[in-house]
């Protein structure tokens, strides 16, 4: 059983850590270096956890739990208007990043107003590319209830974050956290930090359900293995965007143009099969500079094989 954990420390002797991860058959999911500081999110076999933790401490770093590692979360608000800054969305995104998730903050083009707020089909498709969505609404109950229209057609799990508790719209979200509306200051007090932790825990629970359903019908190949196969591909290796490959629960986002790399991606071999046969490879709805790979489940691949025969 693989476990995910995060190393947070300096770059000093970090090569020893990478060597050990490789030796035990683990995978580096994400690596962020800022000056002399380094954070590494890794997936390693459970039995080697103790050894790796020991090495992390020996080289001056610390080991942290990252329950949301390997997920990409969209934190969405009806608007990212300048006059709403600092926005609670930023605090929510930050706490999710601390838990290991890769987050994207997104505002809707016409999301403001009670009666006039809208979400476009493209915006819904963009949000559906992520593992889950955290929707942050405001302070007034009637507005929050009305604006749940924005999330009712989303296919990914939605955690609704709002000030008051909305009523009669329970079918539009998977989980609800109340007590966070529009604010004019950062969420720094003890109560507010506790609220942020609650959002993080709620999202973890929501994703647990999704993980369980994937466990029941496992993917043909784990996204981390595809990441390992693709990481030496030159356009990805040379990509200057932060985290050129982002893991999802059921696939990954690869930040290279779709048109130019489609052929390679479809034909790359995974366990003796072409990736195009065991995964859906599509351009991202944001623009054509990213590719979304959604891995098929084993049963789906078997079914498709039986149809061919």
């Amino acid at each position: 059983m693989f476990e995910v954990m995060m190393y947070d420390g300096g770059v000093y002797r970090s090569d020893e850590l990478f060597e050990m991860i490789e030796d035990v058959g683990g995978v580096v999911l994400q690596k962020n270096r800022s000056s002399q500081m380094l954070t590494v999110i890794m997936s390693i076999p459970g039995e080697d956890r103790e050894e790796i933790s020991k090495l992390c401490k020996e080289i001056g770093g610390e080991v942290k739990e990252v329950p949301l590692a390997g997920t990409e979360i969209a934190v969405v608000g009806p608007t990212l208007g300048r006059h709403h800054m600092p926005h609670p969305i930023c605090d929510v995104a930050e706490i999710l990043r601390r838990a290991g998730a890769v987050t994207v903050v997104m505002g809707l083009a016409r999301g403001r107003g009670k009666n006039t707020s809208q979400i476009s089909a493209v915006e819904k498709e963009i949000i559906d590319e992520y593992d889950a969505c955290v929707m942050c609404l405001g302070n007034f109950k009637p507005c929050v209830e009305k604006k749940t229209d924005l999330i009712k057609d989303l296919h990914v799990p939605v955690v609704l974050v709002s000030g008051p508790k909305p009523e009669g719209v329970e079918d539009t979200y998977d989980a609800l956290v109340t007590g966070v509306g529009r604010k004019a200051a950062r969420m720094k007090s003890a109560d507010e930090r506790a609220k942020l932790d609650e959002i993080c825990d709620t999202l973890e629970n929501v994703l647990k359900d999704k993980k369980l359903s994937i466990e029941e019908d496992p993917l043909f190949v784990h996204p981390a293995e595809i990441k390992q196969i693709l990481q030496d591909y030159e356009p990805i290796d040379m990509c200057l965007r932060p985290s050129p490959m982002v893991l999802h629960l059921d696939g990954l986002r690869v930040k290279i143009p779709y048109e130019e790399n489609r052929e390679y991606l479809e034909n790359v071999m995974v366990y003796g099969r072409k990736l195009g046969e065991v995964a859906y490879i599509e351009p991202s709805r944001i623009d054509d500079s990213s590719v979304i790979i959604r891995i098929k489940t084993r049963s789906q691949v078997e079914y498709e094989d039986s149809q061919k025969q």
């Binding site: 009806p78 608007t79 208007g81 006059h83 709403h84 403001r112 107003g113 009670k114 009666n115 006039t116 707020s117 405001g138 302070n139 007034f140 109950k141 009637p142 507005c143 000030g163 008051p164 509306g181 529009r182 604010k183 004019a184 200051a185």
Partner: protein, 186 residues
């Protein structure tokens, strides 16, 4: 600054009171406001924000915000209202040049070759600028989607009536009544 909130949404009323106070403090306008009344009706939606300023926003000269004395060809300025200190210094530098304006301490300034009469006429902050900034601060504290706004100004009373789509006559009437209640002209 006394803030009265009238509304029927317990969470929203409390949150908007804090939001209004925080926004005004952040933008350094809380010191100018004597009292404020916020009427919040998100169901309509109608928002009326009415404030009474401590003083009418008029032009401020150097002598309004500092003690000035002339002695032996020098003018000595002691700033009494700290928030205008950068404006005073900027105005003096512009007129006399940096080499003739010596800042002894944070609030004490000596000027060579200046005249008392010149400082009495030197405007450092116009009332219009103040008013524009206060209105900007009120707009900023309002919900973003509430774009249809009307502003009533009478001396030191400013009332902003805002709704999302069409501004109905009864909304304007309600806003005017609050404006009058706060001391504005009928």
């Amino acid at each position: 600054m006394d803030v009265i909130v009238k509304g029927d949404d317990p969470f929203g009323d409390e949150a908007y009171k804090k939001l209004f106070e925080d926004t005004m403090s952040d933008l350094n306008k809380a010191v100018l406001i004597d009292r404020a009344q916020l009427v919040l009706k998100p169901k309509v939606p109608l928002f009326v924000f009415s404030i009474v300023l401590k003083a009418d926003p008029g032009n401020k000269t150097v002598v309004d915000v500092s003690n000035v004395r002339e002695e032996g060809g020098m003018v000595y300025v002691t700033i009494t209202q700290e928030r205008y200190a950068p404006d005073v210094l900027r105005a003096l530098w512009t007129k006399y040049g940096r080499n003739k304006v010596i800042q002894q301490t944070r609030f004490d300034i000596e000027i060579t070759g200046a005249k008392m009469a010149e400082l009495q006429e030197m405007v450092i902050a116009s009332g219009e600028d103040d008013l524009r900034e206060i209105m900007g601060a009120i707009w900023r504290s309002m919900p973003e989607g509430i774009k249809n706004r009307r502003t009533l100004i009478d001396g030191g009373v400013i009332t902003v009536i805002a709704t999302e789509e069409l501004m109905q006559p009864e909304m304007m009437d309600e806003g005017r009544a609050i404006h009058v209640e706060m001391g504005g002209a009928a």
